[in-house]
């Protein structure tokens, strides 16, 4: 029985069309892998991820944990001799993974926080007290304290489909 993986050329093209125009410039030198702090102690290999993308190995990439091991530190991008926009390409593939429903529960929580307050972290009574004691308003002058601004912020997330995407309200 063959273990050959079936490539999907349309997948590589969809990355290129979405903005990953430099994908095919990669000639697999491995400078990215050598520069990557995530790959140092794990099996994560940036070079391999980009190769899989070129080959269109969609089913290897989209459900994988590897796709989410990049901290977007840009060390690889700084050193890539071919100017491949590695981080941008990883982000585009993450967007595709999320579209397919591959999203960590903890990431959904961050999205839900954005829907609720316009911020990625909540406030607390303790925080409000500390802010007040320093002469700052209890809540910052952001979406968290401005109902109209929060409604606008939410309207954008409805319009772009983000609310539905993360299964929130």
């Amino acid at each position: 029985m063959s273990n050959a993986k079936i490539p999907d050329p349309a997948f590589a093209q969809s990355i290129i069309d979405a903005g990953g125009k430099t994908l095919d410039l990669c000639y697999q030198c491995g400078t990215c892998t050598g520069s990557c702090p995530s790959g140092r102690t794990t099996a994560f290999r940036t070079r391999q991820l980009i190769r899989k993308a070129q080959l269109g190995l969609k089913d290897d990439i989209l459900p994988s944990d590897e796709l989410w091991m990049c901290t977007t530190c840009y060390s690889c991008v700084e050193r890539c001799p071919r100017d491949v926009d590695i981080v941008d390409i990883i982000i585009l593939m993450r967007n595709m993974a999320v579209q397919k429903g591959y999203m960590a529960e903890d990431h959904k929580k961050v999205g839900a926080s954005l829907l609720k307050t316009g911020h990625t972290v909540p406030s607390s009574d303790k925080m409000k007290a500390l802010r007040t004691s320093m002469g700052l308003p209890a809540d910052p002058p952001t979406t968290i304290s401005d109902a109209k601004a929060m409604a606008d912020f939410h309207k954008i997330m409805e319009k772009t489909g983000f609310v539905k995407l993360i299964g929130g309200q």
Binding site: C73, E78, V110, L114, H119, P140, M150, T160
Partner: protein
């Protein structure tokens, strides 16, 4: 005469986890003659690692809304966080380079009665301190020169990607070390100084243990170099180092944001630095 050029972009982690960073920034810039405007109703930048990874179109539209708020105020944006700087700078760059994308985003902004024409510049506060204010004016304000050995942590999105930011050498950056030196403190060299703290890219929220493995490597190297404090320019790196040490026995390095460091050096009252919010106590 006050300088009205900048509006302060707060982001999330500074105002809601380490308000001392916000307060020290406000006080420091006031003392330097800047009247920092507010950005009423601004939200998350939105975060480059999480929100951009989920949906780039949403990320871009929400960033454009923040840019439009500053444009309405007639100001450039001053950020105090590498993440906010990364998102707003990148989004602004995309909107400048791609008129079709700008038009698309403006279609969305129209629905909330807003518009962005692309006039705003996004700046990192350390860039403004180093390049706009400079050594002479900063040192004039230093009334309490510091005597301490510190490990400078640049983080990722302050100078990288350098091909669009053009702020400093990405392999051997020097801005932060110099700014630290101007206070009297000594920035000690340490191994893997440019390495990430581990928090970015959605890694902290998805796999906290993996993020901590980065943090531990950095802390080990900082300790080996005999640093007594960590100096950062990003509240998210700040949080990763400060809260991370709770789960890493054997480390006790207080974490200080550059605005707080300058607050100390400029003799601001200790209460303005918000050090109570820190997990690792700062005994200065």
């Amino acid at each position: 005469m006050t300088n009205d050029k900048f509006a302060l972009f707060l982001g999330c982690v500074a105002p809601l986890r380490y308000p001392g960073i916000e307060k020290a920034t406000r006080e420091m810039f006031k003392a330097l003659g800047y009247n920092l405007k507010e950005m009423p109703g601004a939200g998350c930048c939105p975060a480059p690692g999480v929100i951009r990874s989920f949906d780039q179109a949403t990320w871009l539209a929400l960033a454009a809304r923040n840019l439009a708020i500053a444009e309405k105020e007639g100001c450039d944006i001053l950020t105090i966080c590498n993440g906010c700087y990364g998102s707003l700078f990148d989004a602004n760059h995309i909107l400048h380079e791609d008129p079709a994308m700008l038009a698309k985003v403006n279609e969305i902004l129209k629905g909330i009665g807003m518009h962005y024409s692309g006039k705003v510049q996004v700046r990192h506060f350390a860039d403004v301190m180093f390049n706009d204010i400079g050594i002479e004016k900063l040192q004039q304000k230093i009334t309490n020169p510091l005597n301490m050995n510190v490990a400078a942590h640049y983080g990722c999105h302050f100078v990288r990607p350098s091909k669009i930011k053009h702020l400093d050498d990405p392999e051997r950056p020097h801005i932060l070390d110099e700014l630290i030196g101007w206070t009297g403190a000594k920035s000690v060299p340490y191994a893997e100084k440019n390495m990430c703290c581990g928090a970015g890219g959605g890694v902290r929220s998805r796999d906290g243990k993996f993020a901590l493995s980065f943090t531990e490597t950095k802390l080990k190297n900082m300790k080996a170099a005999k640093a007594d404090y960590i100096i950062d320019v990003c509240p998210f790196c700040h949080l990763q180092f400060d809260r991370g040490q709770k789960d890493l026995p054997g480390y006790n390095l207080p974490v200080i944001h550059l605005a707080q460091l300058y607050g100390m050096a400029m003799g601001l009252p200790r209460a303005s630095l918000g050090l109570e919010a820190h997990e690792i106590k700062v005994n200065l």
